[in-house]
């Protein structure tokens, strides 16, 4: 103890620990290996990522597979160093544990400009990893899984290989330096080979090295190549298991009705009609609503409608006009942040012609294909939870809070996610399943939301207003002044986790303030609008709306300067990776080339999550409405681990972004979300979807993730194409409120 005290000094305890002293030794000490308490006989956990047993090798890929292909790429990182055949091993998500904390989670909040790679900026980035470690959040999101895992999981594979080699050396009675490894075997100079699976026992007693050397890129066997996804066959044969597919003996089926005045409670209720149904086993109060337990999902859906409930009123303005007005009023308040203030925009804007515009984007739902659901089983002082979650440790927290059980008595089984997009980082539906399991102790409970419940009880992409003023002087951009008002998505999301952050909300001007355009007078100011609907992380978060504002405004400036929109952007950029994506997309799309009557192109560029992306959208006027015919995407990922999967992610971002741009809107009527299902909140469909050409570049300084960065440029590229086609400048989303699409 004395030794620990002498070595202890405080770091950042006020910032993150809420007054708790965080010792240096706690920060540097690795979290215990969570696999150790869960091993079966004969299994050895060489690191938190590698289990070896007689019957095979298992890799833990602790990020949630929600479609982005992360399970395959993470397994490949380990397999690359471990020397195993990726198709001959098992890959699991593993238990919920702080050991799998996401080291990248706080980087965005620290606020280093994406293009700043100075020593100071890198030091700050590293410092945020320490904070992320203390927070211990095993979360998937923010396009962080790959940068977080790139060294960490290769190191885990390398350390495991060294342990296995030492174990083989011991049993062969030779020096480890005489041994090599290949395809799950340790091989001696004389050709004798021992399978890893034979070394599990011996390896259990060998401590893994903490900083093993990693292989050169030129030696890579899996990384840098397009791999067949490990989940593909399952997902094409109906055998992939999502939480909604879990079946347990004697399981009961539940659903909920929660107040559609979001955040408000139940005033009173009468459950007698529902309880009179033969199929209803129980009615259980949950936060702000009621759950019904029945014999199958359909019966539960019917029975919950038989509840008569009087609801508390909405704690926010009850229609869109009032919510927009409350956002507009935020511009009169003190700014929440002003992270960019170059030169003197006011001086330039005070004289001569200026461009002054206002942009508005609506709330958006995530609308994952798989509605929210979870399976919970509480019995004999143990809780098992099967859930599609982006945050297993948060599920663990809520399970501990609601049951009072110790962490060791709770098992979180992270299943495949039928879409996440940020929605499954929330735990409202998980808490409900646990509440019902408590009320029905001993009975496994599958709790499934209807689509209507799902769409009306989201944590939405914030409705956001932007005011822009800009000026062209001598044909060049001279002032760029962007003011953005939104409610605080990050602060709200952290608050729901019980963490109060007394800071500016980083999402309001996310990736807008550090846009690399060089204009002498450049200002970006964020304003925090009053809370209305609950808001949270929606794929690409603040970048989804800020790209629309920035890139439409930039197009308006280019037009005022009589400049080509591509050249206008290039002239403002000295960031090489950004220039290269613009040049690439221009070449791919035939930018500047003639098009037949009724066709036009639009361009947009945005740097989000460290990835500069340029997109060109080509539209055609079909006579029956506009069609997005072609999309071209060039993105700089720094280092591409799996090109075919990166292509899929970028295409996915474009379609998700176009869906929102063309038709996505969540609106409020009488305090209730009006859109209840896909008939009122549709997704882009096959006949509306463009062809999408992708080019991946690798000029950037950091390895990056691409679940999100493909999305932000899609909306402005489309709006700019509409301007090119029709001269109509649409500044409000969704676009189909102003112009018809097929």
């Amino acid at each position: 103890m004395g030794k620990i005290l002498r070595r202890t000094f405080l770091i950042g305890s006020a910032a993150v620990g809420g007054g708790v002293a965080i010792g240096y030794w706690q920060v540097t000490k690795p979290y215990p290996n969570p696999l150790k308490s869960r091993l079966k006989d004969g299994e050895t956990a060489l690191t938190p990522y590698v289990i070896v047993a007689k019957d095979g090798v298992t890799i833990v890929a602790p990020r949630s597979e929600m479609g982005q292909g992360v399970r395959t790429t993470l397994a490949a990182l380990v397999a690359e160093e471990l020397d195993v055949d990726l198709n001959a091993i098992k890959v699991i998500n593993g238990p919920a544990s702080k050991a799998y904390y996401n080291s990248m989670l706080m980087e965005e909040a620290a606020g280093q400009a994406a293009t700043d790679v100075s020593a100071g900026a890198e030091r700050m980035r590293n410092a945020t990893k320490v904070i992320a470690k203390i927070m211990g959040s095993q979360a998937t999101g923010g396009s962080t899984a790959i940068p977080d895992a790139f060294e960490r999981m290769r190191s885990a594979g390398a350390a495991a290989r060294i342990v296995l080699t030492k174990a083989a050396a011991k049993s062969l009675g030779v020096s480890a330096s005489e041994l090599t490894t290949e395809n799950g075997m340790v091989i001696a100079a004389d050709g004798t080979s021992i399978a890893y699976t034979e070394l599990a026992g011996e390896a259990a007693n060998i401590k893994p090295p903490s900083n093993p050397p990693l292989r050169e890129k030129s030696k890579w066997r899996y990384l840098g190549k397009s791999l067949d996804r490990l989940d593909m066959v399952e997902k094409c044969t109906g055998t992939a298991e999502y939480a909604i597919d879990v079946r347990l003996p004697d399981m009961a089926y539940a659903t909920v009705r929660v107040n559609c005045h979001l955040g408000a409670g139940v005033k009173s209720y009468d459950a007698s009609k529902a309880k009179a149904r033969a199929d209803v086993k129980k009615v259980v109060p949950v936060k702000n609503g009621l759950a019904v337990v029945s014999t199958n999902t359909w019966n539960a859906f019917q029975a919950v409608q038989d509840l008569e409930i009087e609801w508390e009123p909405a704690p926010y303005p009850v229609n869109d006009a009032d919510i927009v007005a409350s956002h507009r009023a935020a511009f009169d308040d003190k700014p929440d942040s002003q992270k960019r203030k170059d030169g003197d925009v006011e001086a330039v804007l005070a004289e001569g012609d200026i461009i002054e515009t206002e942009y508005l984007v609506p709330y958006l739902a995530h609308a994952t294909m798989e509605p929210m659901n979870a399976v919970a089983h509480l019995r004999d002082g143990k809780l098992d939870l099967w859930v599609g979650t982006q945050s297993p440790t948060r599920c663990l927290d809520v399970a501990k809070d609601l049951t009072g059980l110790d962490e060791d008595d709770i098992d979180i089984h992270t299943m495949y996610l039928g879409g996440g997009f940020g929605r499954r980082g929330e735990i409202d539906f998980v808490a409900q399943a646990i509440e019902v399991a408590k009320a029905m102790e001993g009975t496994p409970i599958k709790l499934v939301w209807s689509r209507e419940e799902d769409m009306c009880h989201d944590m939405y992409r914030p409705l956001t207003l932007a005011r822009f003023r800009g000026a062209i002087r001598d044909g060049k951009p001279a002032a760029f002044d962007m003011h953005v008002a939104a409610s605080a998505a990050a602060i709200d999301a952290f608050e729901r986790q019980g963490m109060n952050l007394n800071m500016a909300d980083p999402t309001i001007t996310q990736n807008a303030w550090d846009n690399p355009y060089k204009i002498d007078n450049y200002r970006v100011t964020g304003y925090r609008a009053k809370k209305a609907l609950p808001v949270g992380f929606w794929r690409s978060v603040g970048a989804s709306q800020n790209a629309f504002f920035q890139e439409c405004a930039t197009d308006e400036l280019a037009n005022a300067a009589n400049a080509d929109p591509l050249q206008f952007r290039l002239d403002m950029l000295d960031h090489e990776p950004s220039r290269k994506v613009l040049e690439a997309v221009a070449e791919m799309s035939g930018w500047g080339g003639a098009l037949p009557e009724g066709r036009a192109r639009g361009i947009a560029y945005y740097l989000s999550f460290g990835v500069p992306v340029a997109e060109v959208i080509e539209i055609v006027d079909t006579g029956a409405g506009l069609k997005v015919d072609k999309a071209f995407v060039a993105a700089d990922v720094g280092l591409a681990l799996d090109p075919r999967n990166i292509e899929a992610q970028l295409q996915s971002g474009v379609i998700y972004g176009l869906t929102a741009a063309i038709q996505g809107a969540i609106t409020i009527e009488d305090g209730v979300v009006k859109q209840k299902n896909f008939n009122e909140y549709d997704a882009m469909r096959m006949y509306q979807a463009p062809s999408i050409d992708v080019r991946i570049l690798e000029n950037g300084p950091h390895i990056t993730g691409v679940g999100e960065p493909g999305l932000p440029p899609a909306a402005p590229a489309l709006a700019n194409a509409i301007f090119a086609l029709s001269g109509k400048r649409i500044r409000e989303l969704p676009l189909n409120n102003s112009i018809a699409f097929i």
């Binding site: 479609g67 094409c236 055998t239 999902t297 359909w298 798989e370 899929a648 896909f678």
Partner: protein, 152 residues
């Protein structure tokens, strides 16, 4: 009530108004067919009844008038159907939740139209939503499956 699902007879005891989807998933235990919307808008629940694509979420089980085929009935991981093979070769799925329905719709299309044009594919497949936006690869996989089936 008697149902024939993937060539096997099943006796189920449910409210006859229950949509086929929930009979398959909760009563019979075939969970490959997915719940997405409950109003026949997303296609995740698509199965075949007498070879025709049907939205099982909106089809009361009492109205089922023929043999039912689900995703589990057209192929298995060890013996995939040509459409499933084409899906795997084109690495179509992302989150994968809609893909059972996409594959069942595509299989029905190809059984009626062995060489569909892009327009034919648009018409047949536009009832199926994919929030991950796998449409470009679905299109490629439908063409690939068609070629595979013509060659076979």
């Amino acid at each position: 009530m008697q149902l024939t699902i993937n060539g096997k007879n099943h006796e189920v005891d449910v409210d006859p108004e229950t949509p086929l989807l929930w009979v398959l998933r909760d009563e019979v235990g075939l969970t490959g067919t997915k719940f997405g919307c409950g109003i026949a808008m997303c296609g995740a629940c698509t199965v075949h009844v007498n070879g025709q694509p049907r939205r099982s979420c909106s089809l009361p089980v009492k109205l089922v008038d023929g043999d039912i085929t689900t995703i589990e009935g057209i192929g298995t991981p060890d013996a995939m159907n040509a459409v499933q093979e084409a899906w795997v070769e084109n690495q179509v799925a992302q989150c994968g939740f809609c893909q059972s329905g996409q594959i069942m719709t595509a299989a029905a299309l190809l059984s009626m139209n062995p060489e569909p044009s892009d327009d034919d594919i648009d018409r047949a497949m536009s009832g199926n939503i994919c929030r991950c936006g796998t449409y470009p690869r679905i299109r490629a996989a439908v063409h690939a499956a068609a070629a595979k089936m013509r060659g076979a």
